[in-house]
Symmetry: C2
Subunit: 148 residues, 2 copies
DNA sequence: GAACACCTTCACATGTGTGTCTAGGTTAGA
DNA sequence: TCTAACCTAGACACACATGTGAAGGTGTTC
C-alpha cells in the first residue's frame, strides 16, 4: 500500500513514517516510480516503533535494541548486553509504575462514576502558588498513589 | 533536605527538579533564606514524575492527570475523564508491548549467555542501504517479535 | 491536456526535556 | 576575613519528535 493508506491505518502521519525510515528503524520498499510501498510487516513494525517512542524510547535506543531483539543472530548485539540490562531494569520499573497508574486510574474512575458532583471544589492537590514556606509535604503516605 | 541531596538521592539533576517544579508538578517548600527544602514526599513524587516522563508522558499530561489521581476530590478531574480513558488504552498497549519486549530480551540474553561467538557476522536485520527496490518485507511473520 | 490527488525531497519551525553557563547570595570552616 | 561549597534565578543551547510549506514529479480521470 502507499503512504496515505499506511498512515491512515496506523493513525500516524506520513511524516512520522518517513522519519522512522530516515532513522533506519524502518526499511520501506519502493515501486518503480519511487513511491514508497508499505507492506503489512512494515505496518506492524511501524506500529511498534510508534509505541516505543510513545513509551519514551528514542529512535536511537530503538535502533540499538533492534539488533538485539531480532529473531536471528546475536552477533552485533554482543557489545550491547549491558545496555540491554539497563533497559531491562528500566522496563521493569516502568511496568510496575504503569501497573500502579493503571489501578489508580481505574479506582479513580470508579469513584468518579459514583458521586461526581458530590465534592464540589476539591483542593487541586498542588497548591503551587499558595503556601510560601516550608510546609508542603503530605503527612508521609508511603505508596505510589500518594500525591505530592 | 536541600537540592543537592535530593538530586543525588533521586539520581536526577537539580535542573530537572527545578523544571518539574516550574511545570507545577512539584510544590517544594522553602527555607527562610529562599533555599528549596525537599521533603520525603517531594522525593517520592519527583521520582514518579521522573518515571512518567521517562515513560513518554509530557509534563502537560502529568499535570492533567495530577488532579485525577489525587487521593482526594474528583472535582477538577471531571472534564478529563475521556483523556484518562485514552491514556488507559495507551497504558495497556504499552504494558503489553513491554511484556513482549521483556520476554524477548530475556530470551535473547539466554541465547547470548550460551553460544556467544558461535554466529559470527549476523545479518543486522535492517538492510537499510542495500536493496534499492521493492522487496523489503520479511515473509509476513505475524507477531510482535517479528523484525521489520 | 487540464485537474486533481497522490507522491517525492528539502528545509525551516516548534515544543519539550535537559544541559550548561552566568551572576550572584548564603553558610561553614581555616 | 577569605575560601569553598553550597544555594538561587535566568538565559541560551541542543537533541529529538513533529509540523508545515515549498517545489516539483506521477497517475488517473474527464
Amino acid at each position: 500500500m502507499q503512504a496515505k493508506e499506511a498512515s491512515e491505518r496506523l493513525g500516524i502521519t506520513q511524516r512520522m513514517l518517513r522519519h522512522y525510515e530516515k532513522q533506519d528503524l524502518l526499511s520501506v520498499g519502493r515501486t518503480l516510480n519511487g513511491y514508497r510501498r508499505y507492506s503489512e510487516s512494515n505496518l506492524r513494525r511501524a506500529g511498534r516503533i510508534r509505541d516505543f517512542i510513545a513509551t519514551g524510547f528514542s529512535t536511537r535506543e530503538i535502533r540499538a535494541m533492534s539488533a538485539c531483539l531480532s529473531d536471528d543472530g546475536s552477533g552485533p548485539c554482543v557489545g550491547g548486553i549491558e545496555k540491554m540490562l539497563e533497559k531491562l531494569e528500566h522496563i521493569e520499573r516502568l511496568k510496575a509504575e504503569l501497573d500502579d497508574r493503571h489501578t489508580a486510574v481505574l479506582e479513580r474512575l470508579a469513584v468518579l462514576k459514583n458521586g461526581i458532583s458530590s465534592s464540589d471544589e476539591t483542593v487541586e492537590t498542588m497548591g503551587t502558588t499558595t503556601d510560601p514556606f516550608v510546609r508542603h509535604e503530605t503527612p508521609a503516605v508511603p505508596d505510589a498513589t500518594d500525591p505530592q
